[in-house]
Amino acid sequence: MTTQSLVFFIIGGLVLWGGLAVTLIIAYKNRNND
C-alpha cells in the first residue's frame, strides 16, 4: 500500500474501531450501574 492510502486506512480505522473500543470500555466499566 502507498503511504497516502495507508494514512487514510489508519484514520478510518482509528475513528471507527477506536470509537467502538472506547464506547465498549465505557459500557464495560459501568456495567454494574445498569
Partner: protein, 503 residues
C-alpha cells in the same frame, strides 16, 4: 387480552440485536463501492460528518423515544402525540414491505452458498445468474413462472424468521444475535486477512483509500454519505424504537447509540478492505484495472465475486462459502428485526399474542414474497426498493426529526436519556435534530424527486414505475392512515393518564 411487554435478557443482547439489525447486505456490497467511487480516503470526511451530525443523533432519538414511551413505533409516537400514530405505522408497514423482497436476496445467497461447493455458476457468471438461476423475464409484466430453488430458499428463511420471532425477544432474537453476530464478524475477519494478503490486493486497497479531493466538493458525494449512514443504521424503519422499548428502566441509551453506530460503520469499513483486496487480486490476475472489476450490489455478490472464486480454484470454494455465509448471516439478523418491528406494532395495537401475530405476519409475508420468486422478481425488487428508500424512508426520517425537533421538543428526549445514561449529551444534539438532520433529509428528498422527474428510474416504463414504485409508497401511506384510525385494543394505552405513567 393485554400482553406483558418482553424484555432483553441483557444489555449486551440489546446491543448485539441493534447492531445485527443495522449490519446488513448494504454494509458488504454497497459501502465498499461507495468509498471507492466517492473519493476514496477523502470520502471519510463527508462520511464522518454524516455519522456525527445525523446518524448518531437520530439513533439517540429513536432509542430515546422507544425507551421513554415503552412501545413499538406507532405506540411510542401515539403516546407522544395521538395525532402522530400514523407516522409510526408508516415505517412499520414499510419495514414489512422491505422484508418481503429483502428475504429474496437472502434466498439467492442461500442458493449461492450451496453453489459454492461445486462452483455451479461456471465461467459465465453473468449469464448463469440472470438466465439460468433467476430466469429473468423481459419485462416486469411477464412473470415467467416461479423459480423453484428461490422459492425453497424463501420458504426456509420465512420459517426461520417465524421461529426466531415466535420464541420472543430474549429467547429468540437475542439468542440468534448472540450466535450469528460474533460468527459474522469472525468470518469477515478471516475474509479480510486472506483477501488483503492475496497477490495484487494492494492494488485494490490503494484504489480504495487514495483520496480524490475533487469529489469532496461535489454535493452528490455528501448526499451519498448521508444516505449510506442513514440507510445503513436501519433508521426510520421502526426497528430501533421497537428494540429500545424492550430495555429495562435503568439503562444507558446514549452510549448504546454510539456503540451501535460505531460497530455498524466499523464493520462496513472492514468489509471494504476485504472486498477491495479480493477485487485487486482479480484485476491483477486478469491484467485489467480496478475500474473494470469494481462493482456493487447484485453485480458484485452474484456476478463479480463468483468469477473471482472460480479464478481462485480450490481456495475459491472456501471463500465462496465464507462470503455467502456472511451475506446470509448479516441478512437474517436484519430480517428478524423487520419481522419484529411490524409484529410488535400489531401486538400493541390488537393485544393478540406474539405467537398469533408472528404467525399471521410471516404467512402473509411469505405469500407476498412469492411474487419476487418469479422471473420478474428482480424488476419488482429493484423498483420497489428504490421508491421505498428514496421517498418513503427519507420522508419518515424527515418527519421524525421535524416533529420531535419543532413540535415535541428535543430537550425532553435529551433530558430522558441523560437521566439514565453514563454520559450526558449536550445541546448540540438539539441543534442536529432541529436543523441539520431535517435540512439534509429534505435536500435529499427534493434531489430524489428532481432526478426522478428528469429521468424516470432505471429506464422502466411509466406504468411499471407508477404501479410498483409509487404504488408501494401510496399503499404504505394508506395502510398507515387506515390502521391508525382503528381503535387500540386497550384505549388506556394511549390515554393521557397512561401516557404520564409511561413518560
Amino acid at each position: 387480552m393485554a400482553h406483558k411487554r418482553d424484555q432483553w435478557g441483557s444489555k449486551l443482547g440489546f446491543i448485539l440485536a441493534a447492531v445485527g439489525s443495522a449490519v446488513g447486505l448494504g454494509n458488504i456490497w454497497r459501502y465498499p463501492y461507495l468509498l471507492y467511487s466517492c473519493g476514496g480516503g477523502a470520502f471519510l470526511i463527508p462520511y464522518f460528518c454524516a455519522l456525527f451530525t445525523a446518524g448518531i443523533p437520530l439513533m439517540i432519538l429513536e432509542f430515546g423515544m422507544g425507551h421513554k414511551y415503552k412501545g413499538s413505533t406507532p405506540l411510542a409516537l401515539a403516546r407522544a402525540n395521538r395525532k402522530w400514530e400514523w407516522m409510526g405505522w408508516w415505517p412499520s408497514v414499510n419495514s414489512f414491505l422491505i422484508l418481503t423482497y429483502y428475504i429474496i436476496i437472502l434466498s439467492w445467497a442461500v442458493n449461492y452458498l450451496y453453489f459454492s461447493i461445486t462452483q455451479a455458476w461456471g465461467s459465465d457468471t453473468n449469464s448463469f445468474f440472470f438466465n439460468s438461476f433467476i430466469k429473468l423475464s423481459d419485462s416486469p409484466f411477464h412473470l415467467n413462472g416461479i423459480v423453484w430453488p428461490v422459492f425453497i430458499g424463501l420458504a426456509l428463511l420465512w420459517l426461520l424468521n417465524w421461529y426466531i420471532c415466535y420464541k420472543g425477544v430474549s429467547h429468540g432474537i437475542e439468542r440468534l444475535n448472540k450466535i450469528l453476530l460474533p460468527t459474522l464478524v469472525g468470518i469477515m475477519i478471516i475474509i479480510v486477512i486472506r483477501g488483503a494478503t492475496l497477490p495484487g490486493a494492494s492494488l485494490g486497497l490503494n484504489k480504495l483509500f487514495t483520496p480524490d479531493w475533487s469529489k469532496v466538493m461535489d454535493a452528490k458525494v455528501w448526499m451519498a454519505a448521508y444516505g449510506q449512514v442513514f440507510f445503513s443504521l436501519s433508521l426510520a424503519m421502526g426497528v430501533m424504537m421497537t428494540y429500545s422499548s424492550y430495555l429495562p428502566e435503568k439503562t444507558d441509551i446514549n452510549n448504546s447509540a454510539f456503540i451501535t453506530a460505531f460497530a455498524n460503520c466499523g464493520f462496513e469499513f472492514l468489509a471494504a478492505i476485504g472486498v477491495f483486496g479480493i477485487l485487486g487480486y482479480m484485476a491483477t490476475s486478469q491484467g485489467v484495472g480496478i475500474e473494470d472489476v469494481a462493482t456493487q450490489s447484485i453485480g458484485l455478490a452474484f456476478v463479480a465475486f463468483p468469477k473471482v472464486f472460480t479464478v481462485m480454484g480450490p481456495l475459491g470454494r472456501v471463500f465462496g462459502i465464507l462470503f455467502f455465509g456472511c451475506l446470509v448471516f448479516a441478512g437474517i439478523t436484519s430480517t428478524v428485526s423487520m419481522v419484529e418491528a411490524f409484529s410488535s406494532a400489531l401486538m400493541d395495537k390488537t393485544g393478540l399474542s406474539r405467537k398469533k401475530i408472528v404467525t399471521i405476519a410471516c404467512s402473509l409475508g411469505f405469500l407476498i414474497s412469492i411474487l419476487y420468486a418469479t422471473g420478474a422478481g428482480l424488476y419488482f425488487l429493484d423498483i420497489i426498493d428504490n421508491f421505498i428508500n428514496a421517498y418513503g424512508t427519507v420522508t419518515i426520517g424527515l418527519l421524525e426529526a421535524f416533529v420531535i425537533g419543532w413540535f415535541y421538543g428535543p430537550g425532553k428526549i435529551r433530558e430522558h436519556t441523560n437521566l439514565i445514561s453514563y454520559y450526558p449529551i449536550g445541546r448540540w444534539w438539539d441543534v442536529m435534530i432541529k436543523f441539520v438532520t431535517p435540512v439534509v433529509l429534505l435536500y435529499m428528498l427534493v434531489q430524489n424527486v428532481l432526478t426522478e422527474i428528469k429521468q424516470p428510474y432505471g429506464g422502466y416504463s411509466l406504468n411499471a414505475l407508477l404501479i410498483f414504485g409509487w404504488g408501494s409508497i401510496i399503499l404504505g401511506l394508506i395502510l398507515s392512515f387506515f390502521i391508525s384510525k382503528r381503535p387500540w385494543h386497550d384505549a388506556s394505552l394511549v390515554s393521557p393518564v397512561k401516557r404520564r405513567e409511561n413518560a
